[in-house]
């Protein structure tokens, strides 16, 4: 029935209309329930690889070739072996230090810049705006060759700084902040300024506290991007002592041979911090993507 046929319909009496609406309603509910069923099936399918990895990690290495989900002798031996061996703890530390500092650096520098662009008038303002906008177009991946020479020339390769410093300037973060700041009524900080507060005071005490959603979105995303980055840290960190989790896992990949339980245990350990981040900040992450289309 095409939507345009409504012209031909006779005016309905109220009981007819009610009956009609009720049947349409029932049809719709049934349809919705079918949709839910189909989607649950797909969602379960999507969880299979993760469940299978966990399942494998909990088996003894010798039993991983059994084609079964049932774990006959559940064991944490693989996890214990990995933790005892110790590399993964170093990688955790490296990832945690580099990602936290990168996120903090991004939040601070980007929000200060955005505050200037949103609230202050000065010479070169428009120039700065466009200059930063261009940065959004430059994929970090095209910078690996010159960056390697640059950081090598100041002897920073194989230090945490090699990974932290280049990930701090994030042009898109400036615009996320600016957009948010632009939405905060100017009267608020102008009042404070008339009362004699300096720009920095206004930024710290008035604008930033109001911009919490932007701060957390930028912080979480910078953290996750830095944590998951592979290409640059792979080049910059070759010393196993200070590798980040992805670099470490990519490097030892293959050395486990047929010890599938150990391999999966390392994957599970590598996933764990991000699963936690996801569970804690699920809503913020989803809102951040929906609001800004941030993509790593």
């Amino acid at each position: 029935m095409a939507i345009t046929t409504h012209k031909d319909l006779q005016p309905l009496t109220s009981t007819q209309a009610q009956r009609y609406a009720a049947s349409a309603d029932r049809r719709m509910r049934l349809f919705n329930r079918c949709c839910t069923g189909v989607l649950i099936a797909f969602a379960l399918l999507w969880l299979v690889p993760l469940a299978w990895a966990l399942d494998t990690a909990l088996k003894p290495n010798g039993e991983t070739i059994d084609p079964t989900w049932v774990i006959e002798n559940p064991t944490l031996a693989s996890f214990r072996a990995l933790l005892a061996q110790g590399d993964i703890l170093n990688w955790y530390a490296a990832s945690f230090i580099t990602s936290s500092l990168a996120a903090a650096g991004t939040v601070i520098t980007a929000s200060l810049a955005a505050y200037a662009l949103s609230r202050m008038r000065f010479r070169f303002r428009l120039l700065a705006f466009w200059f930063i906008l261009i940065g959004i177009m430059i994929p970090r991946q095209v910078l690996i060759v010159p960056q390697f020479r640059e950081l090598g020339s100041v002897d920073l390769l194989n230090t945490y700084w090699a990974v932290i410093l280049p990930s701090i300037p994030t042009a898109i973060a400036v615009f996320v902040f600016k957009q948010f700041f632009d939405g905060i009524p100017k009267d608020l900080d102008e009042a404070a300024r008339i009362d004699g507060a300096g720009f920095f005071h206004t930024y710290r005490r008035i604008v930033m506290p109001l911009a919490r959603p932007a701060v957390s979105a930028v912080a979480i995303f910078s953290f996750v991007w830095a944590w998951n980055d592979l290409l640059w840290p792979l080049l910059a960190l070759t010393n196993p002592q200070i590798m980040t989790i992805p670099v470490g896992l990519a490097t030892v990949q293959g050395t486990y041979g047929i010890r599938y339980a150990d391999t999966m245990a390392s994957a599970v350990l590598g996933a764990l911090p991000l699963v936690l981040v996801f569970l804690l900040f699920q809503r913020r992450i989803v809102e951040g993507i929906a609001g800004t289309g941030l993509k790593g």
Partner: protein, 327 residues
């Protein structure tokens, strides 16, 4: 993409000339001392910008310019200095090298394999999720959780899934009565396997964008159309999908660019093999720069890669401008 920031000031009709929104512009440019102090004429503005700009110059713009310069020299990684001037030699070399074209084709092939399913499935899942009143958190968990895992974790799990004879997928395929493909070892099939992994890994991002797009469709449209007798299928076809056009165009461009930037999956799962059948453009840069130590040639290849990405973004901007003049 700084989506809304590219829009002109409120009330502008022609969007061709875009300007950032500034209150100052519309105010009279009177320069009393008090107003100057309040609006931050002079140094304070640049002071606030300085930390970002310094880092930005040092680690983004600087390297970008340095790389561009380097691409015109026979720079080597093992010797200091730029080396001999090469003119367009590095570019000519890349453009006449079959390895470069093969890597470009592998990258495009990967993009072709991943983009349609990543968009179609994300849209279908979002449409289904929209109709499910309950268990939304569960769908978000299932589809989105893989997206924030590191590529290395994803790769390890899928190498295990694809392990010949023992892997879960291998077993699933054989138990359904098919011959098991050599997932990562067959030059013709390896890219398909990588695409399957990538769809599983990154679908959640598009799913979330579509969910957000669906929220913006006014409920009244559905109510009105259902009074007019439209069934659910008609509603999806005639209301939902057309009104999602904007979201779809954003999803497509972000997806194409992300797929072109592929590196991690190939590097870990196939090392570009078998027989270079899955070597992406970024891995070509990586190999030339860090295995052959030819920084100049690698910088030229990076620049070419950048041009490809830029072309996609430019194409998208032109297309969306034409579609919706108000954007």
């Amino acid at each position: 993409m700084a989506s809304t920031e590219i829009t002109g000031p409120a009330g502008t009709v022609a969007p061709a000339r875009t300007e950032p929104r500034t209150t100052g512009r519309r105010r009279s440019p009177s320069g009393t001392k008090r107003e100057n102090r309040l609006s931050g004429h002079g140094w304070p503005g640049l002071l606030f910008l300085a930390p970002f700009l310094v880092m930005y110059l040092l680690f983004i713009v600087g390297p970008a310019v340095y790389g561009l310069v380097m691409s015109f020299f026979h720079t080597s990684m093992v010797s200091p200095g730029l080396g001999e001037f090469a003119g367009f030699g590095n570019y000519a070399e890349a453009l006449s090298s079959s390895d470069f074209w093969s890597a470009l084709w592998q990258t495009i092939w990967f993009t072709i394999l991943t983009t349609p399913p990543l968009i179609a499935l994300a849209l279908v899942f979002a449409l289904l999720a929209e109709r499910a009143r309950r268990a939304r958190w569960f769908f978000r968990l299932a589809f989105f959780l893989p997206y924030i895992l590191p590529s290395a974790v994803v790769a390890l799990i899928w190498i295990w899934m694809y392990t010949p004879e023992l892997g879960l997928l291998s077993r699933a395929v054989t138990s359904l009565g098919f011959a098991e493909p050599d997932w990562l070892g067959d030059p013709d099939f390896a890219m398909v396997s990588l695409a399957i992994t990538t769809v599983w890994w990154t679908l959640g991002f598009n799913f979330v964008l579509y969910l957000a797009g669906l929220q913006e469709i006014p409920r009244e449209l559905y109510e009105a159309s259902s009074i007019d007798g439209a069934g659910p299928w008609q509603q999806i076809r005639l209301i939902t999908v057309p009104l999602l056009a904007r979201t779809t165009s954003l999803v497509v461009v972000l997806q194409v660019i992300a797929s072109l930037k592929v590196f991690d999956q190939m590097y870990i799962m196939t090392q570009g093999g078998p027989n270079y059948a899955t070597r992406s453009l970024l891995q070509y840069v990586f190999d030339v720069g860090f295995t052959d130590f030819r920084s100049g040639a690698a910088a030229a290849a990076s620049t070419l890669f950048f041009v490809v990405v830029l072309a996609v973004s430019a194409f998208w901007l032109v297309m969306t401008r034409r579609q919706e003049p108000e954007l």
